[in-house]
């Protein structure tokens, strides 16, 4: 590269010392350093999850069996909802990179439009995650703990305000999510087992959950919660920058680097979700 450098950087963007290491502006480099440290945090969490899962000897829940519902619809749609969330985040990442591209052309209208769509995508993702959490916490049919300390899963959920006796064909099964009818405990035997239960576990909290070991729900809450918090703060930062774009702050400055810097953060949030999606839901 020696000898090729011909044009000096504009004085206004040089660092305090009059140089600009790596030809990157100070703000952008610090954003990268922050992202590296944040990436280390998320990697730590995901590796911890892998550690817990790998050292666990019992049955660890399988993503497609836990997450198989869609809002307003009944039936089995494994992974579809999470895939939808992934798409929303990828698309909002695309609109963000389009906003950055428009910024390089000093196209204020373009930046405004694409940044607005990015913010909309962010809100959609947050809403989806709220639904996902709510669904995870409330759970479905759940299992009962019998007097002999066995786990028996309910085949069908008991609707709100009804008792087990009201459910037609009430049955229990010793294996989670297995529809092998010959294993079902039915009729009065099932009802008496249900009546003498020690506990009926539904959904999830920090101590116990119907899906698997307690640490599974704890990791779910912490990792997706920490990521959701990043999305939330990303949306806030995007809104602040959006207001700056509308006011023309960056246009007057002659460059839209601020959009680029928030863009870095936003892409990072998408990047983290790509890994959460794989290691929490798929593998």
């Amino acid at each position: 590269m020696a000898g090729e450098a011909t044009k000096a950087i504009d004085k206004s963007v040089l660092w305090g010392g009059g140089r600009s290491p790596f030809s990157v502006s100070y703000g952008k480099m610090m954003m990268w350093f922050f992202l590296v440290s944040d990436a280390l945090t998320f990697s730590g969490l995901l590796v911890a999850y892998g550690y817990a899962r790998h050292s666990y000897t019992g049955q660890w829940p399988i993503g497609e069996e836990v997450f198989h519902s869609l809002p307003f619809l009944h039936g089995n749609y494994p992974l579809i909802y999470v895939a939808l969330m992934t798409f929303i985040l990828i698309i909002s990442s695309v609109t963000m990179v389009l906003a950055v591209e428009a910024g390089h052309r000093m196209d204020k209208k373009g930046v405004t439009k694409w940044l607005a769509w990015t913010i909309v995508g962010g809100f959609f993702f947050l809403g989806s995650q709220a639904w996902e959490w709510s669904h995870f916490i409330h759970g479905s049919a759940g299992y009962i703990v019998t007097e002999s300390n066995e786990k028996l899963w309910l085949v069908e959920e008991i609707p709100h305000g009804m008792t087990a006796a009201d459910v037609e064909g009430f049955a229990l099964t010793p294996e989670y999510k297995k529809s092998d009818e010959s294993q079902f405990i039915k009729g009065s035997e099932a009802l008496s087992l249900y009546a003498s239960r020690l506990d009926h576990v539904q959904g999830a909290n920090m101590q116990i959950n119907e899906y698997g070991p307690p640490s599974y729900a704890n990791f779910f809450f912490f990792i997706t919660g920490f990521h959701g918090f990043h999305v939330f703060s990303g949306v806030i930062i995007n809104i602040i920058v959006f207001l700056g774009v509308i006011k023309g702050t960056y246009h007057k400055r002659g460059h839209y680097e601020m959009v680029e810097k928030t863009g870095l953060y936003w892409h990072f949030v998408d990047l983290v979700w790509v890994f959460v999606f794989t290691f929490f839901y798929l593998v």
């Binding site: 020696a2 044009k7 895939a83």
Partner: protein
């Protein structure tokens, strides 16, 4: 020592404003990457639904997932985050320390959890 506060052409990002024609190329690239990311995600979900855990095919699918995730991550970092357009030395400053630390962390946690799993399995009633 090579001076790094000088720029070649328009390689410095703040001043790297480009014209409409150049923007068209960049947008084309963005949409191409979007298509790649979407297709990979669809393949992942499809495989996740079709191949059950514990089957003979599963280990391949699992490593396929990890590989596809890394490909997706590479596209996001290189194209969307423009790290591919930064100087090579800057790319190294960002990626190498991170990679060294995380590869170490993954290796040691896999090792420890495998041992722990074995111990618990041994003493399980």
């Amino acid at each position: 020592m090579e001076r790094d506060d000088l720029i070649v052409n328009d390689s410095y990002s703040v001043m790297a404003n480009h014209d409409e024609a150049h923007g068209k190329d960049i947008r084309k690239k963005i949409w191409k990457v979007t298509a790649i990311l979407s297709i990979i995600t669809i393949i992942e979900v499809g495989l996740g639904i079709m191949v059950k855990q514990g089957t003979d095919l599963w280990p391949f699918v699992k490593w396929g997932f990890i590989l596809m995730t890394l490909v997706k991550a590479g596209y996001i970092v290189a194209i969307f985050m423009h790290l591919g357009d930064e100087r090579k030395s800057f790319r190294n400053v960002i990626l190498i320390p991170y990679a060294i630390f995380i590869v170490y962390l993954i290796a040691i946690c896999l090792q420890e959890s495998t041992v722990l799993n074995g111990i618990w399995d041994t003493f399980r009633p």
